[in-house]
């Protein structure tokens, strides 16, 4: 009854209609649209605890990049070892996209609390930079848990022992790195890595 051309056209129109009605998450520029942002905001795994970050710092984990989004003065005064400084006001500067949109490295934003780091997360996620996270409760929590907490119980279990071991190592690393002038930091890191390699039976 209908020609083949008509039937093929009708099928294509129906298929296109189906595709258009599917909820898209992205615009053609790669940026997320409203639907994509709502999905991203409800996903779990957007944040790391300070203990997870401490482990990452102690192990010099290269799959994560700590990004301090506070102003440069706050960063210069004190920051977590290995962090780079990109103030939130400059977070969308395309010059930083190499750091923030690297498929091999996940940025972890931190500030003193959660406000600035969340702003950075929202803006970068909407921009289409996938995989970024925030350090939950920021430097204030880092200080409370990693720098100042001590074990107060009678008997420590294996998990708590491991957590405090990491905290003490991170605390020591943090204090040393923030106490020395920039000119000594590279030498310090080389010595630290050499000592650690010897401890695990490396051959350097």
């Amino acid at each position: 009854m209908f020609s083949i051309r008509f039937q093929v056209s009708a099928i294509l129109v129906l298929l296109a209609g189906f595709l258009i009605l599917l909820p898209e998450s992205r615009q053609s520029s790669g940026e997320l649209n409203v639907h994509g942002m709502l999905e991203a905001m409800n996903e779990s795994g957007q944040s790391l605890s300070v203990d997870q970050v401490a482990r990452m710092v102690v192990n010099e984990d290269t799959t994560m990049l700590l990004v301090d989004v506070r102003d440069p003065d706050a960063y210069r005064a004190v920051h977590i070892p290995g962090a780079i400084n990109i103030p939130v006001s400059d977070i969308l500067n395309p010059d930083w996209s190499g750091y923030l949109n690297d498929p091999e490295v996940r940025p972890v934003f931190y500030s003193n609390g959660n406000t600035l780091s969340s702003e950075a997360w929202m803006l970068c996620t909407q921009k289409g930079y996938a995989g970024s996270m925030i350090m939950q409760d920021g430097m204030n929590e880092w200080y409370r848990e990693v720098m100042e907490s001590t074990f107060t119980g009678d008997r420590i279990n294996a998990a708590e022992n491991a957590r405090f071991e990491v905290r003490y190592r991170a605390r020591d690393f943090f204090t040393r790195m923030n106490s020395m002038p920039d000119s000594l930091k590279t030498t310090f890191l080389e010595v630290k890595r050499k000592k650690e390699a010897e401890l695990v039976g490396g051959c350097e």
Binding site: F6, G17, N112, E119, L123, Y143, T175, R176
Partner: protein, 171 residues
Amino acid sequence: MMKKYLFLILIIPLIILIILALPGNKSFRFSGENILEQIGRKTHIISVHKFKQMKAGESGIHLVDLRDGNDFAQGHLPGALNLPAENLSTGDIHRFFEGTETARVLYAGETYISERYWILFTQMGIGNLYVLETGPELDSLIMQWDNDSSRRILVDEDPAFTFQPDTAFTF
């Protein structure tokens, strides 16, 4: 004759599909750069004191509680409307804010969470929105609301620590 109708049968769905494919309300109205500029003005987060001042001058202003229905039912700030942020759809957001011209002030369990939704809604083009600085404990603010007149803003971004350098470190 039949060919004329076939042409119409194809062209009408195509026009409908083109209309559906237009960005419409799926895309953001403002760019991230524009939002960053608004964030930089630091006028979107208001203290309890400022909210009460605004409320005295503009009776239509409403608080919007972004927590889920259970939390809202257990207690909320006086006069607040509930817009549960989990599982929101684009349509829900447009319907909620449709036709409102008076200011809406968002709050959630923590200020940074409501600011996230402020960014999203503002980027969608919904104007006249603010974020209420609820401080560290929303529950105590709910209980003390009548007596609270705090001017506090962004307390969680103040450093609560002092670094003590180690002047005797060795390698």
